[in-house]
């Protein structure tokens, strides 16, 4: 019953279409992969910086939007262009296109409509359920729903048609029907009542009893939260009875308890990654092969979805083989994880057989069709014991607008609900959540999803509680922060470090916070000064995360890394190179990312849904040494550092242990029987030489040459899986048992080919870990001082400080950069960005930057933003996710600062200059 955050299409459903990568033969134009292999063998690059640094400062072809047919070896040279026409109306019946109004030089060669898809036998993958193209006669399911795909041979005709469609509409609508009703996307209730003492079992918790969903009112599809006789199943009744008891207690008037009830609303926003979605595809009718170039965060899913879509198609529309190639992406922030865009790129090619065709959103189209962040309506009640300043109970109801298609809505609801109490320990919690369908543009994954909304509501409420008690806001947080070993609201403790006290101490001691009273008193004439603080504990990982990685070293000591993680700016390529370098002594000069089909030697198979599989099923499946719970996951949920580098790091560790280490022993003349032969853990790299005390340092190149000469392990390929803990397996390598936090391994000896090693034993994390809301969290706190102009309401961020803990920072510069970027995005979310949900919103196709405001340099304290990344708790604390948490606390911190300055608590986002001016008047 848990919604899969990673909807999963198995290779087995692919109905006879081969899905393999045929590498490009070397041709006069470099192949796609050559563009995407960075920094590139023999290419000069500065000693510091990202592996993709040179490519990005020289304008190299890198992103999906950069490629045309002429850039692809073996393709016809001409590129055709596709225009995806979307409906700006979702309350009238769609009646077709007015193509007659297009002049001759803007006419499409092919027009694809809903009927054509039916005739071709196109299937819609479950995750994108709904009409891919709205059929005439129907009311579009949502604003921005595609209605037709127009295909053009020449750019000029396409370009003219694109402008005419934007200016004139050219879509016909008939009678008013009102918006289309559709069932909600998911509803859940999370209730926990702690036992009498910290040590005792919970009276009730999701991890003990399972997750529960309410019944629904048949006619409207609305959930029924209260316990009705016909509510769904006894499990729901049991949980809801406890939940209602918590609410009754909160409603009681008790002078010893401070009780507050508050509503908070958040807006719809766009991820606004700078490169609009784009793709290029060619269906070669000769060998019936579909080649496709995409830039997505979920490459494995995209390939599966495309294959499913075409799997039962009629002969002209069913390729023998699909060759999907993935590029670097110009920003993602979650918004390119599981989008339907690749399906339309594919359709463009299949309906334009023999011709390469490009589908690329312009910004209007990206606003109209791209995934949005969910708006939330939240009602929260909190009870605080006045004497101790401790939160006694918390209840909340969340309603999400999921827009037109389900996408990740159910998961966003769950993540938001289970994040609703932030960094705090609360013994009694009851949170309900429902994600509704609406005619808005589809909402899905976006950085910090769910928790950004619920923690903003929480942290502003906490600030209000502190004021009302009164108690210093940091002291209040200190008294209530969840401590190591205490249980989260799903009933499990975190399995990673919890460093709230340190974060709070840092915030308290910082001059922005410490000197807040003096600064306020010192405000210049016409200005108001305010200081705010807020914290967030952000989950990362999804409970079924995996990675694939290959590491090889050649006889010259040059290292190559291939990974399935996607580079969206997060520096994953650089993080991979650094993590591997720690084992192999040098930074790779060939790193490829977003690879999903170069791991065939592992021969992986999967079955079942990793989130829903039973223990018995998992145990049975695991007997097959090639079975894993999930093969490849999207690069999202801040798992990049933690998961994305794991397989490559473990592969590198094996290459060291069974390749470089024995070669080094040979060079040192140490026999296998010598006790020093087992000291591999004590050896370390320094500037490309291997050092073991008492022996002469060995250069990597010499060791690598020896390893090749002796036919040792010179390459390893691995798969890692995490369900809040790593799967662990043992393999026989070179006659020794080798255990790693991986579940599949293949090795290469000398210059041979990769051979899969059957695991001898494996331990997958238990399936009941699926009841965990999250076991991984990173923490971040922010304090900010603002200045408001009394007459105009203009807000300036004078100074800000964020403190973050994320375990080992693989590439500290990138962690810092992502923190600064998250801060900027948080400022935009708090003060600037907003999209109307329905009519006159982005779905009408008229939105662009300028009207939609994101933070510019001048909106930020460029020289007064201090970010502190706490060092890891111990030298071997693993990397934790961090990309998302940094954007959260700045949002409530700004609202709390606005209250401090103006005395007004805003209960919705964004808080614009006009709104501030309004309350000052």
């Amino acid at each position: 019953m848990r919604p899969s955050r990673r909807e999963f299409l198995k290779w087995s459903v692919v109905s006879g279409i081969g899905l393999s990568l045929s590498r490009f033969a070397l041709a006069d134009i470099p192949g796609f992969l050559a563009h995407e292999t960075l920094p590139g063998r023999g290419v000069w690059h500065p000693p510091v910086g990202r592996v993709d640094g040179v490519a990005k400062v020289t304008g190299a072809k890198l992103y999906a939007s950069d490629f045309r047919a002429a850039d692809m070896p073996g393709w016809p040279v001409e590129t055709g262009h596709a225009l995806l026409v979307r409906a700006p109306d979702a309350s009238h019946a769609y009646e077709g296109l007015d193509l007659a109004s297009l002049p001759a030089n803007a006419k499409p060669t092919v027009v694809v409509t809903a009927d054509d898809l039916v005739r071709a036998g196109i299937r819609v993958p479950d995750f994108y359920k709904g009409d891919l193209l709205c059929p005439p006669g129907k009311t579009p399911l949502y604003l921005g729903q595609p209605v037709a795909l127009l295909l053009f041979e020449k750019f000029d005709a396409f370009d003219r048609a694109r402008l005419l469609f934007r200016e004139k509409g050219l879509l016909k609508f008939g009678k008013e029907t009102g918006p289309v009703d559709a069932p909600n996307y998911g509803a859940f209730r999370f209730t926990r009542i702690a036992g009498a003492t910290a040590a005792s079992q919970d009276v009730y918790s999701p991890i003990q009893e399972g997750w529960i969903s309410p019944g629904f009112v048949e006619s409207s599809g609305r959930p029924v939260w209260t316990v009705l006789p016909d509510a769904k199943g006894p499990e729901y009744v049991k949980g809801a009875t406890y939940g209602e008891a918590i609410r009754a207690e909160l409603a009681k008037s008790d002078p010893a308890v401070l009780s507050l009830v508050r509503d908070f609303e958040t807006q719809s926003v766009d991820p606004m990654f700078l490169e609009p979605e784009a793709g290029l595809a060619w269906y070669n009718t000769g060998d019936r092969k579909l080649e496709i170039v995409l830039g997505v965060q979920s490459p494995f899913e995209a390939a599966g979805a495309i294959a499913f879509m075409l799997g039962e198609a009629n002969s002209g529309f069913k390729p023998n083989q699909i060759d999907a190639q993935y590029s670097y992406i110009g920003g993602g922030f979650g918004g390119r994880d599981h989008t339907p865009f690749p399906l339309y790129v594919t359709l463009a090619a299949m309906f334009f057989p023999g011709r390469p065709v490009r589908l690329a959103h312009d910004r209007f189209q990206q606003f109209q069709g791209g995934i949005k962040r969910h708006p939330f309506k939240m009602s929260s009640r909190i009870g605080v014991d006045r004497a101790s300043g401790k939160i006694t109970a918390f209840a909340a109801d969340h309603v999400l607008d999921g827009g037109g298609l389900a996408n990740y809505s159910a998961s966003v609801a769950v993540v938001g609900a289970t994040g609703a109490i932030g960094m705090y320990y609360i013994p009694k919690v009851d949170v309900t959540t429902v994600a509704l369908h609406s005619r808005g543009v589809t909402a899905g994954s976006m950085r910090g999803y769910g928790t950004l909304q619920t923690m903003t509501a929480l942290e502003t409420l906490v600030d209000e509680v502190a004021t009302a008690l009164p108690l210093d806001p940091i002291e209040f947080r200190r008294r209530n922060a969840l401590k190591v070993g205490e249980r989260t609201m799903t009933g499990n403790p975190y399995s990673v470090s919890v460093r709230a006290p340190e974060i709070l101490d840092k915030l308290e001691a910082h001059p922005i916070w410490r000197d807040r009273k003096q600064q306020k008193a010192r405000a210049t004439v016409g200005k108001l000064v305010g200081t705010g603080v807020a914290c967030a504990a952000k989950d990362y990982g999804t409970g079924a995360d995996c990675s694939l990685g290959t590491v090889t070293i050649d006889a010259e000591g040059r290292i190559s890394i291939h990974s399935d993680a996607v580079e969206m700016g997060n520096g994953i390529g650089t993080a991979l190179a650094n993590r591997v370098a720690a084992h192999l002594g040098a930074v790779a000069d060939e790193v490829t990312v977003a690879q999903v089909d170069v791991f065939d030697e592992l021969g992986l198979v999967t079955s079942g849904d990793p989130y829903a599989i039973s223990q018995a099923e998992q145990d049975a499946a695991a007997a097959n040494p090639r079975w894993v719970p999930s093969i490849s996951s999207a690069t999202s949920a801040s798992i990049g550092a933690h998961v994305g580098t794991q397989a490559a790091a473990e592969a590198a560790r094996a290459v060291f242990r069974f390749g470089l280490w024995p070669a080094a022993l040979a060079l040192w003349g140490i026999r296998a029987t010598d006790p020093r032969a087992s000291l591999w853990r004590d050896a370390y790299w320094q500037n490309g030489v291997l050092i073991l005390s008492g022996l002469s340092p060995l250069p990597l190149k010499a060791i690598a040459a020896k390893a090749h000469e002796q036919g040792r392990v010179t390459g390893a390929m691995a798969h890692a899986f995490s369900r809040w803990a790593w799967a662990q397996a043992t393999f026989a390598v070179d006659g020794e048992d080798w255990t790693g936090n991986i579940d599949a391994l293949a090795v290469r000896q000398g210059s041979g080919s990769f051979q899969r090693l059957d695991r001898k034993t494996v331990a997958f994390p238990n399936t009941d870990y699926n009841r965990i809301g999250t076991a991984f969290a990173s923490m971040c706190g922010t304090t900010v001082r603002i200045e408001i102009d009394k007459t105009t309401g203009a807000l300036r961020i004078a100074k800000a400080y964020s403190v973050l803990e994320c375990g080992e920072a693989l590439v500290p510069e990138i962690v810092l950069g992502q923190s600064q970027g998250g801060f900027a995005m948080g400022v935009g979310y708090a003060l600037l960005e907003s999209l109307p949900p329905f009519e006159h919103g982005p779905g009408d196709g008229t939105w662009n930057l300028g009207r939609y405001l994101v933070a510019r340099g001048s909106d930020l304290p460029l020289h007064d933003l201090e970010i502190e990344v706490l060092p890891p708790l111990s030298p071997n604390e693993p990397p934790k996710g961090m990309a998302e948490v940094v954007m959260i606390p700045i949002v409530p911190a700004l609202l709390n600062a606005i209250y401090d300055a103006t005395g007004h608590r805003f209960q919705s986002l964004p808080v614009t200059q006009a709104m501030i001016k309004g309350v000052l008047a």
């Binding site: 400062v57 304008g59 939007s65 992502q818 662009n848």
Partner: protein
């Protein structure tokens, strides 16, 4: 070469010439990821967005794009500084920032400024450029460090 009157410079570069180093972000003159350098006959240079300007407007003009900064594989100090500072993440806005920063450096080389004005000058020069990933801080630091590393050239 004949081009359509209403073909934008951005499409001319990207679709006709295949020079995709110049990016397309909004098509509305708002993000400047599409900005290129225009060199005037008097030796001054400015940046100009390409997405809202017809290609024909550039007829006879001398322009520079991101592809043209490095010579024979040798990066400019600004390109190196961007890399060393980890100034960008996804890199999609980088060509615009690079062109803007380069024009600024060339301007300062001709008309040096006081040390006290450096931050403000950089801020003003780069402010039109949108970046969704980085929060801008490192871009500013990267440009500043090039200026401060060569005070004889850029500072009074």
């Amino acid at each position: 070469m004949d081009v359509r009157d209403d073909l934008t410079m951005n499409d001319f570069l990207r679709e006709v010439l295949g020079f995709t180093g110049t990016k397309f972000g909004c098509g509305a003159g708002q993000c400047l990821s599409c900005a290129i350098i225009v060199d005037a006959p008097d030796g001054t240079s400015t940046t100009m967005p390409t997405c809202i300007v017809a290609a024909t407007e550039f007829n006879g003009k001398s322009v520079r794009t991101v592809e043209g900064h490095a010579r024979d594989g040798v990066l400019t100090p600004l390109q190196n500084s961007f890399i060393e500072h980890f100034a960008f993440q996804c890199g999609y806005c980088t060509p615009g920032f690079l062109n803007e920063g380069q024009v600024l450096l060339e301007r300062l080389a001709k008309a040096p400024i006081a040390r006290a004005d450096v931050e403000r000058t950089i801020g003003e020069a780069l402010d039109g450029h949108l970046c969704r990933c980085t929060g801008y801080v490192k871009y500013h630091q990267a440009v500043r460090d090039v200026i401060l590393a060569d005070p004889d050239r850029y500072l009074t």
